[in-house]
Symmetry: C2
Amino acid sequence: MNAEIIAVGSELLLGQIVNTNARFLSEQLAEIGVNVYYHTVVGDNSTRLKDALALAEKRADLIIFTGGLGPTKDDLTKETIANHLETTLEMNDAAFQSIKDYFHKTKRIMTPNNEKQALVLKGSTVLANEKGMAPGMYFSHNGMHYMLLPGPPFEMEPMFEKYGKTAIEKALGRKETIHSRVLRFFGIGEAQLETEIEDIINEQLNPTVAPLASDGEVTLRLTAKHESKEIAGEMLDQMEEKILKILSPYFYGYDDTSLMKELSDRLKEKEITLSVAESLTGGLFQSEFTNISGAGSVLKGGIVCYTNEVKKELLSVSKNTLSIHGAVSEPCAKELAENVRELFKSDIGISFTGAAGPGPHEGMPEGTVWIGIAEKGKPTRTFLLNLAGGRNANRIRTVKYGCYYLLKEVVSI
Amino acid sequence: MNAEIIAVGSELLLGQIVNTNARFLSEQLAEIGVNVYYHTVVGDNSTRLKDALALAEKRADLIIFTGGLGPTKDDLTKETIANHLETTLEMNDAAFQSIKDYFHKTKRIMTPNNEKQALVLKGSTVLANEKGMAPGMYFSHNGMHYMLLPGPPFEMEPMFEKYGKTAIEKALGRKETIHSRVLRFFGIGEAQLETEIEDIINEQLNPTVAPLASDGEVTLRLTAKHESKEIAGEMLDQMEEKILKILSPYFYGYDDTSLMKELSDRLKEKEITLSVAESLTGGLFQSEFTNISGAGSVLKGGIVCYTNEVKKELLSVSKNTLSIHGAVSEPCAKELAENVRELFKSDIGISFTGAAGPGPHEGMPEGTVWIGIAEKGKPTRTFLLNLAGGRNANRIRTVKYGCYYLLKEVVSI
């Protein structure tokens, strides 16, 4: 099966938005073995849309449209397709009810043109929109497959993942369905990770194991195909066990979680409180931590100690430490972590001090970072990083390492 | 002139990257009055690329290709076009020299396949690549215009802005060139801004004035067309003066600057030091401030006082204030700003306290925020915000307001 993705919307042709839908759908289709040979973007113009549709019918078996399903006059995707295929639109009761519910829930007044959104192509399978109003559609006609999806990515993506993909797999006559699980790793590079589980990656056909690196993390996507959801789940469990036997020191969570989210959840669970002394990170750790709702029960607070004056006066780092070892040093990280913990009366104190760049700081090369973790009744631990990513990347990476060490050392995941 | 943008690259069809080039070029073309009716994405396959090219020749006067100009076998854009138009490729000496220089500068070894990148379509105008190796090309043939640009956005964007745009304007037979200036505003909504300068927007043809809203800010893009760069500059100056006569209270800078960047520059310039007490923003203000290199000379540091305990014990907010008025109150913001300033011995203290959401905090509705600004020898000022953006947006917006008030009240821009 070969697919073409047609995005409809003049805002794309004016450069006001970028066509992330084509990227998302291409990735999803690749995963279920459907080739994509063309992406097309066309404006809100029924003649040109009809031309694009006629052309796509010559070069693909499956055409996926995104956009143009809304309530306004500009939205003409389904009308144009109905006209081209000489079929009609009909009111879909479930979709209409869901639109009414949506207005009720968001306490807004429904205008008559919103009814239009509940019209679907006659005989099509309706794909429910759980994040918005316009329903999606799938149907086949003379051996061609058509799928219509809404334009906004936050509506389109869950609709496709939940309903669209299954409809295509059914059309492909596949009995087995596809089940995925993402394992997340930190503290190991992509190349090293691949080397460690090279045999597993090379030997395995079902489930497949695909590594992907981004933002200093590596993920493994395990994908199992089987008729039975239960058996697919067991296949994934077995593969995960095999992988974690080798990689468990670096593993921290599943699917869409993040290091910060895991840390916040585990500290809450164990009722451990935290305080933070931030030099090179300048508040970034705490800013990300407090971006998660309910952080107040875990994070007592912290100090941004960007200058040595503040390190000395507010966080009582000794004069000797600063004059002999400097701010970017193990003793400084240790004292910062211990003293911030005492000052804020928390269970754990964590500190970040280093040279973010550009250029060296107090003679230490850019990317040198010390992290300190102080815990009641335990010796304070310190960690040295040598980063090479430029100022902003170094700060972000430092925060991730902070989360990772807290997870490993304090929460013991 | 109607244009079609053809992006070449299998990585786009696999969903590994998103086609941001089409967005960029569409926006740029809209600015010089060239219509874009289609975007096409095609893989590294010469048959399908040739088909896409032949089709585009039927529906556009200008075809812009991005990608497929690199050194590997996959890269076949110029070869396919040469074949289709029955012309040849020839070595371009300047491009070859620049490739050799590039290897020299980056201290890498040049492999033979890199020479291929210096081949250009016979008779084309070469567009220099100042950020990479593959040169761009422009030529016309039988009344059709063709432009070839490299795929990586950081090479393509400056090449198009510097050379590509001018080539198209020349092809359009336009003598005048286009000069733009962006004015940035904060603290005013897009609708209100448009109303205030409605007459100017409606009356004006050259320069044009186009508003755009994003992330709580509004920008106005002024675009002047004239043969002389000097006169175009004067036209922009006059228009700017006319606009700022009305909107100066909200104006804060030009082009790609940001509120935080302006604040940092002005405080440095005036040698004013700052300290910060962050409750709902949880370190975000300081994190953004320290993301700008050299922040250490301005920012003494600050405290993340997420809990009332820390507000009381470290920042000496009075028991009465917290029990009578609560943490989300004017008196609390005032005391936090004054006390953080004293604690850190800075010229200015700024505080942020509020209910970020989700839901109310201490009975105050989500989005209620107080900002305090304490300055040596002046009465402390406070500002109330009522935001409606959800937790993360409220925090980001609060930080922007903090910058804005500091710029207006302390730096007096």
